[in-house]
């Protein structure tokens, strides 16, 4: 009894002193701690730690606590924490999730005085405008990703190919030269990797469909528009890679990037996030080129990105600190740090399209791709990707015609869109 009473008085004294010191500090400068949440990916965490260090040095009195979760649990944790008044003041989310976060009131708009809409429209790459709701930006990216054509330089030399293909026709020709089969006709090296389960669904949707003269979705994004002449041509061209030209096979070596890493694929379309993994692969000499242009010279690319947003939990001084932090992590300086650490491209032309970046043999093609990149506004990314995978599987495995398979996919995707926008 005596002991616990003493403990209580010590505790009370500590609390009073603690309160006093906070008050004193409050007079000197507002000590604020804000919390930042991200999903766990080592390079991103390292980059964020650097950014926070710089931010804290420039803004004494504000500390940023970070917390990271495995990707699989991320969404659940955020959803459970914010309504309970716990969790982050600034949160990282995939651009395709924005609608869900806005509807659930987990994030608040960025105030127009600190983040003027016109300036952002002007300064950021156009695809970032998908982050606007009712005339205000809800979230902003630090970095964006785009696609490019990776090629194996050793295999190119061996086949006597000098330059990476610049058009779709050249792509097929080069791929033919790079394809190797054994005596029984089994593929032992593919000219080009393929697989709708990897990045090809983006390539097909935003690049090939447009290059054959169509568009994947209506302008208001609510209607599937690829069930058209252009869509049929794009799908026929894609399916012919395997079925007619025999330069690829979606099941070759289990995963496209595995085949490329193992030096068993001449070319491979993938995102800038693959650079790190390929850099670590011993014995692989590879180069990067822009995605091949379409029959009429149209260039297109697909871009995706993660954004940061201020959560509805942040109020008062934490809100102000969160805005300052948002401003810093979307600055040119932060973007360059992100590029150097993670390999993801700056979200502003001013930071991305520097001479250094454009002429970089690795980042250059990705950066150039950003200039003409499109972002699909997904409502259910994995569901929509699955439809693309099934579309090709029906043609390959069940012999369905290109027209029927395309129509079936378009109808199924329309149902997903309707379910969301209804």
């Amino acid at each position: 009894m005596i002991k616990s009473r003493r403990m209580f008085s010590v505790g009370a004294m500590a609390a009073v002193m603690g309160l006093g010191s906070t008050l004193l500090a409050g007079v000197a400068r507002a000590d604020v701690e804000i919390e930042y949440w991200q999903y766990f990916f080592e390079a991103r965490v390292t980059a964020m730690d650097t950014l926070i260090e710089n931010f804290e040095a420039a803004n004494p009195g504000i500390t940023v606590k970070t917390n990271q979760f495995p990707y699989a649990d991320y969404r659940t944790k955020v959803a459970a924490a914010i309504p309970a008044g716990e969790g982050p003041d600034v949160v990282q989310l995939f651009y395709g999730w924005l609608n869900d976060y806005v509807d659930a009131e987990l994030i608040q708009p960025l105030p127009t005085d600190a983040f003027p809409v016109e300036t952002i429209d002007e300064e950021f790459f156009p695809m970032v405008q998908a982050m606007k709701r009712d005339g205000q930006y809800m979230a902003l990216p630090t970095a964006v990703r785009s696609l490019a054509l990776f090629y194996n330089e050793r295999l190119f030399d061996k086949a006597g190919i000098e330059n990476p293909p610049a058009t779709l026709d050249e792509l097929v020709e080069v791929a033919k030269k790079l394809t190797v089969r054994d005596g029984a006709g089994n593929l032992t090296q593919v000219g080009l990797t393929s697989g709708m389960t990897a990045q090809d669904h983006h390539w097909w949707r935003e690049v090939l469909v447009r290059q054959f003269g169509g568009q994947p979705y209506s302008d208001d994004l609510k209607t599937v528009a690829y069930d058209s002449e252009a869509g049929r041509k794009a799908l026929a061209w894609y399916a012919a890679l395997d079925q007619e030209h025999g330069v690829t096979d979606s099941t070759f070596m289990d995963e496209p990037q595995a085949a490329f890493k193992a030096g068993r694929a001449g070319m491979h379309i993938d995102g800038s996030f693959r650079i790190g993994a390929l850099n670590d692969t011993r014995g692989l000499k590879w180069g990067v080129a822009e995605l091949p242009a379409g029959p009429d010279g149209t260039q297109s690319n697909y871009s995706s990105y993660w954004v940061n947003a201020v959560t509805s939990k942040a109020t008062d001084e934490k809100y102000d600190a969160a805005l300052k932090f948002m401003a810093y992590i979307t600055s040119d300086e932060a973007m360059q740090i992100w590029l150097d650490t993670v390999g993801e491209l700056p979200a502003k032309p001013s930071a991305a399209l520097t001479d250094k970046n454009q002429n970089d043999p690795v980042y250059g093609p990705f950066v150039k791709g950003l200039g003409y990149a499109q972002s699909t506004v997904f409502v259910d990314e994995s569901g929509q990707r699955q439809l693309m995978t099934d579309m090709v599987s029906r043609i390959e495995l069940e012999g369905q015609s290109i027209e029927d398979s395309l129509t079936e996919a378009a109808q199924a995707e329309q149902a997903i869109l309707d379910g969301f926008y209804q």
Binding site: A72, R75, T76, V78, A79, D100, Y101, D103, A104, E105, L106, D182, A184, N186, L187, T188, G195, T197, A198, D249, S250, T251, F252, M253, D254, E255, R264, D380, S382, G383, Q386, T389, D390, S393, R394, L397, E398
Partner: protein, 297 residues
Amino acid sequence: MSFYDRLSVRQKQTVWAWGFLAIPIVFYVVVRFYPTANAIVLSFQEWNLLGARTWAGIDNYVTLFHDPVFWKVFRNTFVYLLIGTPVSLILSFVIAYHLDKVRFLHGTIRALYFLPFMTSAVAMAWVWRWFYQPVPIGLFNNFLASFGIAQIEFLNSTTNALPAVLAPAIWAGLGFQIIIFMAGLRAIPKTYYEAAHIDGVSGWTIMSEITLPLLKPTIVFLVVFSSIGFLRIFDHVFNMTTNNPGGPLNSTKPLVLMIYDTAFNSFDMGYAAAQTVVLFVILLIVSLLQLRLLRDR
């Protein structure tokens, strides 16, 4: 005097008994019954994990009934059950029956059969997945190719994929079933067999009149246990088809994978809960049916 002191010895015993029983009861209520009830409620709601739950009536069940993928998945689930359970039971019985008679290296052989059961399903599924790949990395196809035989599409086929995924799942469960069968065989008194031998009964009669009838409790247990296992098959399918989960064209997708996909990729929790309730009902019906059919008369 407190309330407790006024109780009789018998009442105190009752209090203590309930006190001890309360721990597992509370545990079960919290980790089993509450989530189950919650899932049933959720199946009548719409929820994307982020926003508020809204009531949807029986919409989720109506959607489910009209979803062609669901019926495909429903069929797959029963194919897993109807092939998996008999095949694994017959195999494990045959192995256990003969292993029981083997004296040479008995322990080692038994351990070898049990080993797959102790191996992580994820690791095993990935190794088998690589076995099944086409040339140049697949073990089976490289073997076929070296003899000039055409490759077999194990996983990238709407007809071969399900059996290909099921095979390692059966293999993984064999060890456990063999051990249980052997325990059942050992429990049959030797005297019955001796009496049968003295009477000069044929081997088949011994099997059908002595061994199998006396193994009935073991068989009932294993049928129910492995049926539930195959109805809930997930990790083998998921890990062998991660690129295209349950594919190609949903030909390997079991109900649990569909639930997982709906819940954690499409974030349609209400619809996933409705599927879960259906799975719950199926498991309940199948288990009750089997218990009824196989119980002692």
